[in-house]
């Protein structure tokens, strides 16, 4: 919980301290950095969500699992 609070506080601080930039030299890099930061937070949330679904499926008696292994990168031609 403290980690999340710290995340918002740091984010709040940097967003009010930032200056304007009217020339976008490399907007892609910023997006990549942000995704790698968000990844650590969202990884946990998504993992818990998927695990919870698995538990629910177990108790609902459905043999058909709705979960799929995500992003194995394996395909027929590789």
């Amino acid at each position: 919980m403290n980690k999340v609070f710290l995340f918002w506080m740091v984010g709040f601080w940097i967003s009010i301290c930032a200056n304007n930039a009217y020339a976008y030299l490399d907007p892609g890099t910023g997006s990549m950095i942000l995704q790698s930061i968000l990844a650590s937070f969202l990884f946990i949330g998504t993992g818990i969500g998927l695990f919870w679904n698995k538990i629910k499926n177990l108790f609902s008696g459905s043999k058909k699992t709705k979960l799929k292994k995500i992003g194995t990168g394996k395909s027929n031609d590789s």
């Binding site: 918002w8 984010g11 709040f12 940097i14 967003s15 930032a18 200056n19 304007n20 930039a21 020339a23 976008y24 030299l25 490399d26 907007p27 892609g28 890099t29 910023g30 997006s31 990549m32 950095i33 942000l34 995704q35 790698s36 930061i37 968000l38 990844a39 650590s40 937070f41 969202l42 990884f43 949330g45 998504t46 993992g47 969500g49 998927l50 799929k68 292994k69 995500i70 992003g71 194995t72 990168g73 394996k74 395909s75 027929n76 031609d77 590789s78």
Partner: protein, 464 residues
């Protein structure tokens, strides 16, 4: 053969048109992704789910130079752009991207780009039209189209939802997507820090600014590979979906919700007018109808019922939102594409050489134009002379069904109550102006003194 002006930016392929058929050339750099998607049944499944435009491989001797594969696509009834879309249509286009991403990720694929221009409206609903957007996913990599998704979908939807619906008009200026810092500035403080928008817009804009600092240009950087696991990427996609789903536009529905009650004419007149519209539509049997000033789509529906594809154009975003939300679930409704456009300032050609995105005229002609209860607005609200209105209509279609309102009509009285200048507007002025460009075929005078004219454009008028 014509090369499609909006598809030159993708190095893996290009769209061209030959004898009214749409083809896509696939170049060397696009083959690996194309074949991988074919072999894994990705295209097949997405086409079956009506999320991707269909295609078939053809051998085409006149294809563009360096073509390795050539595929044929069905023709779309009408190309439209995000600055013309209603709020919900842009939102659906965003959700379509996320649906496709969630479908692709477990199969080891993703969308290489997330451009709003890659989505178009077909008679089945919204479709991804860029077959080559689908590519093999780079392992443990951040989503390459994340920035584009946020600037093409999240930023415009957030400003329209949290600030003002009219901010969607900024699309015309920023055709590569809304600058994220500008979008953040427009958001109310409380929205800037709501969890989803904070993560994907406020922080995103900050990190963009941080990586754009001029003083960093000459600094040597060690290239650090950013890693995002597949599960985390799915988390980002789901977080985007949650954020987009929360964005809503509370339409000020007083105008169109009460449209029937504030109408200045009687039900009997409406019925008579609707019957006449039906008669002309059936007589002309058009495949494509443009209903200019379509309002809540009352007459667009009549035209759609006859089997035509109808583009219902109105300047009021509440009207296009109303049409999109209310008719998309019905069979005839799917043949209506509502577009928001100020008819006194219609969509121009935009982008590279002003040709990348077509003007509304270049997307014509229509087989029939409906201009019902419209021209008095153009004359009295936008000061456009009748002759110029007639000329513009003639450039859009050969067939026109136009309504003339007498100056005594309560609607015109309301529009002119504070006007000092004299504008030429009488039945005689109307007939003189329109006869320069059109031949009057027949007319119908309603009980309320409004007159409907069916006209056909003169082929070689001397006024062009």
């Amino acid at each position: 053969m014509t090369v499609e002006a909006g598809s030159f930016r993708d190095p893996s392929g290009q769209v061209f048109i030959h004898e009214n058929t749409i083809y896509r050339s696939i170049y060397q750099s696009g083959i690996a992704d194309y074949k991988a998607a074919c072999n894994n049944g990705i295209y097949e499944e997405l086409i079956l789910k009506k999320q991707l435009i269909s295609h078939s491989e053809v051998s085409f001797e006149h294809a563009l130079e360096n073509t390795e594969y050539c595929i044929e696509h069905p023709k779309l009834p009408m190309v439209s752009y995000p600055w013309e879309w209603s709020f919900s249509m842009l939102k659906d286009a965003a959700l379509l991207h996320l649906d496709i991403m969630e479908f692709l990720l477990p199969k080891g694929f993703w969308l290489r780009d997330a451009s709003a221009f890659n989505v178009q409206y077909n008679q089945t609903g919204l479709l991804l039209i860029d077959t080559l957007s689908i590519g093999k996913k780079a392992p443990d990599s951040p989503w390459v189209a994340y920035n584009q998704f946020c600037s093409h979908f999240l930023a415009p939807l957030a400003t329209a939802s949290c600030c003002d619906i009219r901010t969607l008009g900024l699309w015309r200026n920023y055709i590569d997507g809304f600058p994220l810092d500008l979008a953040v500035k427009m958001l109310p403080v409380i929205k800037k820090y709501s969890p989803g928008l904070f993560m994907h817009l406020t922080l995103h804009a900050y990190f963009q600014r941080k990586s754009d600092r001029q003083e960093d240009i000459l600094k040597e950087k060690t290239s650090k590979k950013r890693r995002v696991s597949d599960l985390a990427l799915l988390g980002i996609i789901r977080s985007l979906r949650k954020t987009i789903n929360k964005l809503k536009w509370d339409v000020d529905s007083r105008i169109w919700a009460n449209y029937e009650s504030i109408r200045t004419y009687e039900d009997a007149d409406v019925k008579e007018k609707a019957n006449y519209v039906k008669k002309i539509v059936n007589a002309t049997n058009p495949a494509m109808v443009w209903d200019l000033g379509g309002n809540t789509g009352e007459f667009s529906k009549i035209a759609a019922e006859s089997g035509a594809f109808v583009v219902s154009i109105d300047g009021d975003p509440a009207c296009t939102e109303f049409i999109y939300k209310n008719v998309k679930s019905t069979e005839n409704g799917k043949r209506i594409l509502p577009l928001t456009m100020d008819l006194a300032n219609p969509s121009p050609g935009l982008g590279w050489e002003s040709k990348e995105r077509l003007s509304i005229i270049e997307r014509g002609p229509a087989d029939l134009i409906l201009a019902l209860a419209l021209i008095h607005h153009l004359v009295f609200s936008a000061n456009i002379p009748l002759t110029r209105i007639a000329k513009w209509f003639a450039s859009l279609s050969n067939n026109l069904l136009v309504e003339f309102m007498p100056i005594e009509d309560p609607m015109i009285k309301k529009l002119t109550q504070n006007r000092q200048e004299h504008l030429s507007y009488s039945l005689e002025d109307f007939k003189t102006s329109f006869s320069k460009y059109f031949t009057f075929i027949e007319y119908k005078e309603l009980e309320n003194k409004r007159i409907l004219f069916h006209c056909i454009a003169r082929k070689n008028n001397k006024y062009n």
